[in-house]
Every structure is written in C-alpha cells, then in structure tokens.
Amino acid sequence: MEKDSFVKRYGLLVLTGLIVGAAAVALTAAGNPANMGFCIACFLRDIAGALNLQRAGFDAEIGTGIVQYVRPEIIGLVLGSTIIALARKEFRPKGGSSPMTRFLIAIFVMIGALVFLGCPLRMVIRIGGGDLNAVVGLVGFVIGILIGILFLKQGFSLRRAYKQSMAEGLVFPLLMALLLVLSLVMSDLFIFSKSGPGSMHAPVILALVVALVVGILAQRSRLCMVGGIRDAVLFKDFRLISAFVAIIVAVLVGNLMLGKFHLGFTEQPIAHSEFVWNLLGMVLVGWGSVLLGGCPLRQLILSGEGNTDSAVTVTGYIVGAALAHNLGLASSGTGIGAGPVAIAVVAGFVVLAVISVANMQKLEV
C-alpha cells in the first residue's frame, strides 16, 4: 500500500498551524491582549470571570475585575468543531471515561497554566513574539509530557468511554451557543471588565468568525499541542508537531511585519520571569494534558464533537481558573500570585502522581 505523500501527511496540519498563528496575530491587532490572540486558558478564565466565578483585580471604583469577558473565541472553536463534525458524520456522543478524575486533572492543568500565564497554545504564541520566558515554559511542558508518556507506557488509561445519546452530546455545544446569544442580547447577565486584559478584545463578529474557521480546521486536522510532542516521542510521528512549528513561524513572521517582535525575558506582555514557576507550571500542564489525552484546545474541539468527557474537562478548566484567581494562585505581569502557589503546585504533582499510578492497567490486546 502507498504511503501518504508529504502533502497529504503534513499539508492540512501545517496550513492549520499557519492560520492559527496568523489568526492570533490578527486578533491581537484587532484588540485582543498582547501575545494573547488565542489563549484557551486565559479565555476560559475570562469566561469564569464573566460568570462572576472570579473577579481578580476587582476595583471598587470601576466596579469590575480585570479578567471578565465572554470570549467568543472559545464559543466559536466549539461550535466550529460541532458544525464540521455534524456535517461529516463525525459527531459521536460518548463519555464515561473517568469523568470525575478528568475534572480533577483539569483543575490542576488550569492552575499550572495560570502560574505560567498561558495554555500550550499561548506558550507557542509567546515564543513567536520573542518571549523567552515561554521557552522556559516549553522546557517544563516537554518534561511534563515525558513524565506522562512514562505512565502511558506502563499502561496508564482513564479506561474506555461509551456511546451516549445525541441529546447528551449536544448539551455542551448548545450551552456554548446559549452563552453566545445571551452575551449578545442580555449582556447585563454577565460582567465585562472595564479595565485590564478582560477589557481588551477584538470585535465580537471577527473573533467569532476566526474561531469558527480555526475550530473547523482544528477538528479536521486533530491539531493538538500536547499530541505533537507526545506522538513525536512515542511513535516517531512528526505530523502534529509540524503544526506546532507552523504556528511559531506564522506568529513570528506576523509580529516581525507589525513590529511587535521583542526578544528577551523582561517587559514581555502579560508574562513574568520567575523561571522556577514558569517551568513547574508547565510541567503540571504537560503531564496533566497527557493524562487527559490532549491540550486545552483539543479538549474544546472534542467537546464540540460530542465527547462529554472533554466537556467535563473544559468545565474543570473553568472551575480551576476561578479557584486559581480566588486563592491567589494565578500569576500576573509582576510575578506569581500572593496565595499558596508552592503548596498548590506540589499538591498538583501529588494528585497527578496518584492518578497516574492508580490508573495503570493491563490493556487487553
């Protein structure tokens, strides 16, 4: 049988990567916070804020926190995935693969991401902007993935999922659609930051359309930041990692064109230079994401395809974001949070270790 040609193998992924990178730069130019064109962790955190689950940086005079906004990007990614999955008959509702364990892992993945200040996608976008702190994060991310792979090789699995009803599979995408509609027609229900990163956003329609396109492409290409490094190590398969590289290239070129490229550790937008925490935060993200089977972006896409385990995972991210801010674990441009960051990160490692060991099993082959 003929092997896939180079274009068939890498084409869609590289194209998706380039478009994600270009979209990130464009959305930033259109109003999103710097180096945050697309950040799943940050945007889920903002949604948590819009629902008043957290109000970090609350200013009594202004009346809002600094990271509260219903990000249409998140909604667009999920719905883009749903639309294309339904159209291609790939919408297959399923779940039941240790949902509560996934919820718990997701909380710590989000805490790790907010200690670092970004999900794997924003890490890559930050690297493309010249932020060397994100390279430190990448080192941690790789270490975390390698730890996760170690357990995969020992038979780690959150066990199988089972078919579920169409109604169950549609709950999460419909909730996202409802969130979008309500945020447009009854915006008083939500809290939108009047200052800080939450107040900075691209026009709703632009953000939504870009996210729908990226959602469709990400569903088709199975784009995943964690999968890229995982598959390269585990299977010597470099397809997913090619998208990872393509995103960096696109962001780098875009930033250079717009004069937004600043190489260095200091004065990077919405980032800090506490190396240990940048590293450890991303170890938590890498390890947890391998256990979950994909990065936060991938979980959004899967939840759009009717995977209710991923929908539970996304819910866990939102709760984790609220906890991270309410307990003072989330970092800011000035450094790590004032809360018990060290305790939370160590607790995260203990929880992931226990989950990793407790779910090692003999796969029946």
């Binding site: 049988m1 699995s157 999922a161 199975r222 398969d237 796969l363 082959v365």
Partner: protein, 68 residues
C-alpha cells in the same frame, strides 16, 4: 481482534503496536475503534509499515484489518 473502542488517542495505536509485537504472526491484525482519529492514525501506521489496511463496519463502529 484488538478492541480499542472507547479509548482515546494515542491508546488505540499503542494497543495495535503492542499486539503486533506480542502475537506470533504479525502479518495480520484486526482492530476495532470508534472514532475517525484512531482510524486515521492506525491506517497511517499500517501503510508506513508495509501493511494493506482495509476499513469495514463493525457493530456501527469501525474495524481495521491490517495484512501483509
């Protein structure tokens, strides 16, 4: 037959690799999966390793047959 239904990637491919290593005759293997991503991954792996891969229906899910 390897039943990898319900497992998310990369577990199905990992199960296939493990099964091929452990069975006496690695020239033929059947595997059931329930999502397109696993179908693509296993098909690609099979082609890259000199197998002919055929896809069929299996209780409403997919069955891949790898033969050399």
């Amino acid at each position: 037959m390897v039943d990898a239904r319900g497992y998310s990637c990369p577990t199905p491919l990992y199960m296939v690799q493990k099964a091929l290593k452990s069975q006496k005759d690695p020239s033929r293997l059947e595997v059931a999966v329930d999502h397109q991503c696993a179908v693509e991954n296993i098909t690609r792996f099979g082609k890259d390793n000199g197998y002919k891969v055929t896809l069929s229906d299996f209780e409403g899910d997919f069955k891949l047959t790898l033969t050399k």
